[in-house]
Subunit: 321 residues, 2 copies
């Protein structure tokens, strides 16, 4: 029931996934009136409470325990599911995950982690909406958490970590960022290489592997990047349509668009917990949810979370002074 | 002397401007070793102190009073100049402007204001770096300040004002944003129309005339938008080069690129004071600085600041509870 186009988009994506991924089993959670959505490869679990965008995270986890969101997270925590995907209320998803799962080593709370195409490969970004305001100690944790993901998922050795800030100098930004800067500078060299502060326009160009930020700024960063990419595409399409290009041109254009579109993303991982919980946009299309399912399969089959746990267990994470 | 490529880029831009704008007089401020940069239409004022990116704003205004930045702001405040443009330390420029100029009606501190192309026209954005963290009262001031600019500069009647946030619901984001939301909702209808919260991906598409945010978030927004636009362009150019398009296509592409590039921007106005002080990127090219000069001419000739003052004088600005 999560998101703006539920249950239609979610059911369509599950049906597509059940067809293309016959080795996977899917479970839909929602009000029993939708139980007819069950079919071969897709089972249905009734869950009658509805969480809205206005609900406060902790309250709705307590008062709406029979929602699709809370039931799904709990089923994943009880290992009845390998992973759970939601397009619903972000705060509620984080709160439910935080209450139901144990933490990865050294992590105090989950953070939302996603990855972008960048000019040199993939860039891991966290937090993109889990913790609006973040202490220096948490930003340092994010550097380790994001690095363990970059290593386990993309095989990047000693990832390049940067802080998202409004200037490159070490004294720029908020006191939390300055404190995190000093701590990461000292920690640099073993688990990751700290390359300092980067600004929004440099993040995609400077070879950053892991971009660390608080949830408020990270969310603005993520959605602005998606928004301007789609804006540039719309304008460019208008131009291209005027020029009546040949079909090769158009095909090549569409390929690029698919590569950069948010729909190509796997959604955001609720990272730092011992399980796979994925947050997708509230407005996710069938394609976006299907891509999240493909991403989940990769995370699960390649045992990314246990690998991250192993890496983090060996790490020494310094506390800011 | 401000910025990473001083004095070269600034001198080149001034020389170009002196040639193309024979009705304007230019003054360069900098160490006397560069006094040979003076020529027809360009005078030179020696200023030997150098402000760096690491200098703390208020301290360097006091201790480096003979810097190009402080001297230029003061000359503008004394009406020896109609406007002053700097590529230097943002905090120092705001601090110097704040100390030297009187405020526009109801404004307590300057904010950096810029405007973007959007799908429906121009979008005014503030603050993009003046005040890192901002109380609700200041966000409300920004709504009025930005609206007065949109009216005076672009002739937009009752501009559509939005808050940059991580969700559309009124309860999303920080306590400052929630408080500002309630106040702007009540104030909506007279000076401006408040359309609520917008997320980063919607800002360019939802017909927003004035986007209100604190300086930290606004700066991340501004630079991410520039960064991803340039990233998408680089990728697309690579694709286009592969396809060997015809010359019309290439010309049309370059035109779009010019339209969206940060170089086409006029820099950010230090808004809320009784004068024209412009902040350009530290890495500004000759073209970017020349565009800032053209922008300044428009602001000055059309008396935008006095018009804003007149509009704000008539406004009643509610204080958040």
């Amino acid at each position: 029931m999560g998101g703006d186009i539920a249950p239609e988009m979610i059911a369509l994506a599950a049906a597509k996934a059940a067809y293309f991924l016959p080795d996977c089993a899917f479970t839909l959670f929602g009000p029993s009136e939708f139980s007819s959505l069950a079919k071969e490869g897709i089972s249905f679990e009734p869950a009658s409470d509805i969480i809205t965008g206005d609900d406060l995270p902790l309250e709705c986890v307590k008062n709406k325990a029979n929602s699709s969101l809370v039931r799904g997270v709990q089923a994943a925590a009880e290992r009845k599911l390998d992973a759970f995907i939601s397009c619903g209320n972000t705060g509620a998803l984080i709160a439910a995950s935080s209450l139901s799962f144990s933490r990865l080593p050294h992590m105090s709370r989950p953070a939302l982690l996603t990855h972008f195409p960048s000019y040199h490969g993939r860039m891991v970004v966290l937090d993109v909406g889990g913790n609006l305001i973040t202490k220096a100690r948490r930003l340092v944790q994010f550097a380790y958490l994001g690095s363990s993901y970059a290593m386990a998922r993309f095989g990047i050795e000693r990832p390049k970590v940067a802080l998202l800030n409004i200037g490159q100098e070490s004294e720029k930004g908020t006191s939390e960022l300055r404190e995190a800067y000093r701590t990461l500078e000292q920690a640099s060299g073993n688990f990751f290489t700290f390359i300092g502060n980067v600004e929004g326009h440099d993040a995609f160009l400077k070879g950053v592997d892991v971009l660390v930020t608080n949830g408020f700024t990270g969310n603005i960063f993520l959605k602005t990047a998606e928004g301007i990419a789609s804006f540039v595409f719309r304008l460019t399409e208008r131009k291209i349509a005027e020029q009546l290009p040949d079909e090769n041109m158009l095909e090549s254009w569409l390929e690029l668009k698919r590569f950069l579109s948010y729909e190509a993303s796997e959604g955001a991982l609720c990272a730092g917990i011992d399980g796979i919980i994925i947050k997708c946009h509230g407005t996710s299309s069938q394609r976006a949810i299907f891509n999240a399912i493909l991403g989940v399969c990769e995370l699960s089959e390649n045992e990314i979370i246990p690998k991250m746990a192993g890496l983090l267990r060996e790490a020494f994470i310094p506390k800011p002074l």
